[in-house]
């Protein structure tokens, strides 16, 4: 720190302070925006989830109603066979009945089936008797399910509602392209009707906005009867959906039963509703799809907040520049005032000493530095004879002359009154120079310095020709040229004393001359 000027240190601190203020300013803005984003987007996310959940629940409910309506229609049509006893009491297995009566009875039943079967797109609509004899439309697909018989027995097993004596079936012996409704007509006859699962596509209508929503109709064993993804039909519903439905907290979406619920998890938004026959409608949408817009908005606001922070940073920078630029000028001015001698225009003593000490701290081992102490001889006579104002002019012009005569990288200072000094460094590129060569080089430098001083004196005498004739002013100088370093860094105070003693010698020797310091 000693090697740096106080003003440089202060200036550097000041600039750091400016940057810190700007960074803190931008950071605060970003944090505020992030917090606001977080709060707003979180609320938005919850609102979106809630809205989507309600929409899906409504949609699921609508599809449940559609399916209920479809299933109830499918259950209602066969009841028309109960309009006459001849339709539902006929028993094809009755051995006591005449063959002719059987034929006519079945003809009657067939005609009835033909009439009421008009009402739907049935794949099957017929009656299966205990001996597997059938009347009506039993499709080849259904026949092929029972190549070895057993149709009646199989359908009997699906009658689970003891009150209505009916039931629904899916995936009988691997047949997944249709759903069956069976209803007992009498103790030896079962009505069997079936429709293709594809028919359910007409009830699986949902808003196109709910892209990637999968709607499934599943039976009690969680086997998929129909799905908006047709490839799923006949498979068991994915385990992760079942897990979500059973393990997550849920809120009842319908008070009619515990099984109706909505679940919002990290992965899925799921809604399930039970149909009249115990099958369930399950709607699921990946949560990321629901929150897609929200996530887009999150990315957008992140970019926006970064942009806003950058905007404020730039605007702040501009404001700070506006605020601090005049201050910089003042500081620069103060600094200059503190370092530069106002009269001569060269460094004052303190600044000169700091600058020289700083330079001494970085000179190389073989570098040669030169301190020249210069004093205006008989300066007092100028003040006495020509006045202090003229004396000041002499100091000013001497300062200018010194700046003119010495190279730009030389440090020039006014050490007091009529005393000036110059410090310069000669950098030697050859670091392995032997002592002889070094001394030769040093002697060359001394010769150069001597020439410079002679030139300076010559110029001084020209500049102050009038004052010289009036007051006999001249220049005396004492020069210190460093010798090969012993390893220790030189100090200004030491070399100053050496150069000063050389100056003293010049004065004592009659002035208007220079003396090179030599170690005694």
């Amino acid at each position: 720190m000693k090697t740096k000027s106080r003003f440089e240190q202060s200036g550097r601190k000041f600039r750091w302070l400016q940057i810190e203020i700007l960074v803190v300013f931008a950071a605060i803005i970003m944090i505020v925006i992030f917090l606001l984003d977080y709060v707003i987007l979180n609320n938005t996310k919850q609102a979106m989830e809630s809205n989507a959940s309600n929409l899906i629940a409504a949609n699921s409910r609508q599809i449940q109603l559609n399916i209920n309506s479809y299933l109830q229609r499918m259950e209602t049509v066969p009841t028309l066979l109960f309009s006459d006893e001849s339709y539902y009491l006929y028993d094809a297995t009755d051995e006591n009945m005449e063959e002719y009566d059987k034929v006519k009875s079945e003809e009657t039943i067939q005609n009835r089936i033909t009439d009421i079967g008009l009402m739907e797109n049935y794949s099957d609509f017929g009656i299966v008797y205990a001996d597997d004899h059938v009347v009506g439309w039993i499709s080849h697909g259904t026949e092929d399910i029972f190549p070895d018989g057993g149709m009646y027995e199989a359908f009997s097993g699906y009658i689970v509602d003891s009150k209505k004596s009916d039931g629904w079936a899916f995936d009988i012996n691997g047949c997944t392209d249709r759903i069956y409704y069976v209803k007992r007509l009498n103790e030896n006859a079962i009505l069997e009707s079936a429709t293709y699962t594809r028919e359910l596509s007409s009830v699986f209508v949902y808003p196109e906005q709910l892209e990637e929503m999968t709607i499934r109709l599943v039976d009690q064993e969680n086997e998929i009867i129909y799905s908006s993804d047709l490839n799923e039909i006949g498979k068991v519903i994915p385990a992760e959906l079942l897990n979500e439905l059973s393990l997550n907290d849920s809120n009842s979406a319908d008070s009619s039963g515990d099984i109706n619920k909505s679940v919002i998890s990290e992965k899925y938004l799921i809604n399930t509703n039970e149909c009249v026959n115990g099958w369930r409608v399950i709607c699921s949408v990946p949560t990321k799809i629901i929150l897609k817009d929200n996530n887009q908005m999150r990315r957008f606001t992140l970019k926006l907040s970064l942009g806003v922070a950058m905007f404020f940073l730039l605007v702040g920078l501009e404001f700070l520049m506006r605020i601090y630029r005049p201050m910089d000028v003042v500081v620069e001015s103060l600094k200059e005032g503190a370092e530069i001698d106002s009269l001569s225009g060269v460094r004052n003593k303190a600044s000169f000493q700091d600058a020289v000490d700083s330079r001494l701290g970085v000179v190389g081992e073989n570098d040669i530095f030169i301190l020249v102490m210069i004093d205006v001889d008989n300066f007092k006579q100028i003040n006495d004879k020509l006045g202090h104002a003229h004396g000041d002019q002499v100091i000013i012009r001497t300062g200018k002359l010194l700046k003119k005569m010495y190279e730009a990288d030389s440090i020039i200072g006014r050490l007091g009154g009529d005393e000036f000094a110059s410090f310069s460094v000669c950098v030697l590129s050859d670091s392995d120079m032997d002592e002889t060569k070094y001394n030769e080089y040093r002697d060359g430098i001394i010769a150069t310095v001597s020439q410079q001083l002679e030139s300076l004196q010559e110029e001084f005498n020209k500049e102050f020709e009038e004052e010289k004739s009036t007051c006999n002013i001249s220049l005396s100088a004492g020069v210190y040229v460093s010798e090969k370093s012993t390893g220790e860094k030189e100090k200004f105070k030491i070399i100053y004393e050496k150069a000063d003693s050389a100056l003293y010698e010049s004065k004592n020797a009659g002035k208007s001359r220079y003396t090179i310091y030599k170690e005694s």
Binding site: D115, G117, K303, V315
Partner: protein, 433 residues
């Protein structure tokens, strides 16, 4: 000082440019569009209906085909109605009479006469030639779908009857595929010992079987070309008597007892079916490991007429009342001429008539199919096959014959009494009473 001022100006200009760039980059267009009017595109599709009859296979591939059509024509939405053949005619009658028929409908050949005797009952397809590629058909093929000079329907395939037999059982009995009426009787006699039947089929096949027998033995047609009966009650009596004999001798399984499962299980040895039903009665049985042989329709030696008929298998027509004829025509053209639809359909309805469909199927082995082989064989002698009289497929006439015959078969009426009843009932059906 001047230099300092100049650099300040540059820095400020740079800051302004940077800020503008940041704003331009970051501001989402949606923010500027926030107050703009939002217009959500709603579906604006033309909705048309399609109806057909068939079995599982036909239902499923038709639905698949419709899905693809909707993909290819996203501005057209197609709903459908379908069912099994049994009762479908009645269903169609309900729709046609109530004017609730589908825009595009599968029709039976006989319905041209029933619903469009003057050619106005269905849409004039010639008016939609911009959408339907008629170049895939010969004039003769299109003539099958014309009434009174108006093109009402496009045939899907030509169809006639063929016979399939469980060859393993024939081998077990040491018998050949029946080719004559006597061969049938012999097979029935043998089958009766095992409580089997030689043949099983539905009431439509029954009537056609009996018509063939009658025409071969009497050298006259049962129906006139205008659909009226060409025979009297004695002719009915002749058919009825032979029918009872065939049933008693286990040549024909009782119509009400016939179902495909019995044929598949071997309780019934053979069947007479449309070529378009080859998959059901040939391919499916072969798939169980049974050897299946195709037979020929029986012809009495020296008979002047074979008594066997052909017809367009089924046809596609457009409702005369459709509000969307252009969209309906696009669908119809897709159903008969589109290569993708041809691949869905294969030979399920017989060998297609459309050249485009044949071209598409030829590339995937059309000539290896049983339907193609049966068609090639039966149509190799076209002079002995006659164009079917639509009334031969009339559900009312079929019911009158079958239901009336039951009275005689189960000894509820005498032969002559029953024949007279059937004769009267058929005439009532012909006259629409």
């Amino acid at each position: 000082m001047k230099l300092l001022n100049k650099s300040n100006v540059i820095i400020r200009v740079l800051i302004v440019v940077l800020i503008l760039a940041i704003i331009y980059t970051l501001i989402d267009k949606r923010i500027w569009n926030g107050n703009e009017e939002k217009v959500t595109e709603t579906q604006n599709k033309t909705h048309i209906f399609l109806s057909w009859w068939g079995n599982d296979v036909r239902h499923l591939y038709t639905m698949e085909g419709v899905d693809l059509f909707q993909e290819k024509n996203p501005d057209i939405d197609v709903s459908y109605r379908y069912g099994v053949w049994s009762g479908y005619e009645k269903r169609t009658k309900v729709w046609m009479e109530s004017h609730n028929e589908a825009d595009v409908m599968q029709i039976n050949f006989a319905w041209l006469q029933e619903y469009s005797p003057d050619g106005t009952g269905f849409y004039d397809l010639n008016k939609l030639s911009e959408y339907i590629d008629f170049s895939n058909y010969t004039e003769e093929e299109l003539e099958y779908g014309s009434k009174n000079g108006v093109l009402n329907a496009i045939p899907i395939a030509m169809n006639t009857h063929t016979f399939y037999y469980n060859q393993d059982i024939l081998d077990e009995y040491g018998m050949d595929v029946p080719l004559s009426w006597e061969d049938f009787e012999a097979l029935g006699k043998r089958a009766k010992k095992d409580n089997r039947y030689a043949l099983g089929f539905s009431k439509k096949q029954l009537l056609l079987f009996m018509i063939a027998y009658y025409e071969q033995n009497h050298a006259e047609t049962v129906f006139n070309e205008d659909g009226t009966l060409n025979i009297d009650e004695k002719g009915i009596e002749y058919m009825l008597d032979y029918y009872k004999k065939l049933m008693d001798d286990h040549v024909i399984c009782p119509i009400d007892s016939f179902d495909r499962a019995k044929y598949m299980s071997g309780d019934i040895i053979g069947t007479m079916c449309w070529i378009s039903d080859t998959k059901l009665y040939c391919d499916d049985l072969q798939a169980t490991g049974v050897n299946v042989s195709r037979g020929h329709y029986p012809v009495k030696e020296g008979a002047e007429r074979t008594g066997w008929y052909i017809k367009p298998a089924t046809m596609w027509a457009i409702s005369a009342n459709t509000p969307h004829p252009e969209e309906s025509a696009k669908l119809l053209n897709y159903l008969v001429n589109d290569p993708d639809m041809a691949q869905f359909q294969q030979t399920e309805k017989g060998v297609p008539v459309s050249d485009a469909a044949i071209k598409a199927l030829t590339a995937t082995g059309l000539k290896d199919t049983n339907e193609y082989k049966a068609t090639e064989e039966l149509f190799s002698d076209p002079d002995n096959l006659y164009l079917m009289i639509p009334n031969m497929e009339s559900e009312a006439i079929l019911d009158a014959f079958k239901s009336g015959a039951d009275e005689y078969l189960y000894d509820k009426m005498e032969l002559d009494e029953c024949a007279l009843k059937i004769y009267k009932d058929i005439n009532k059906a012909i006259n629409g009473e």
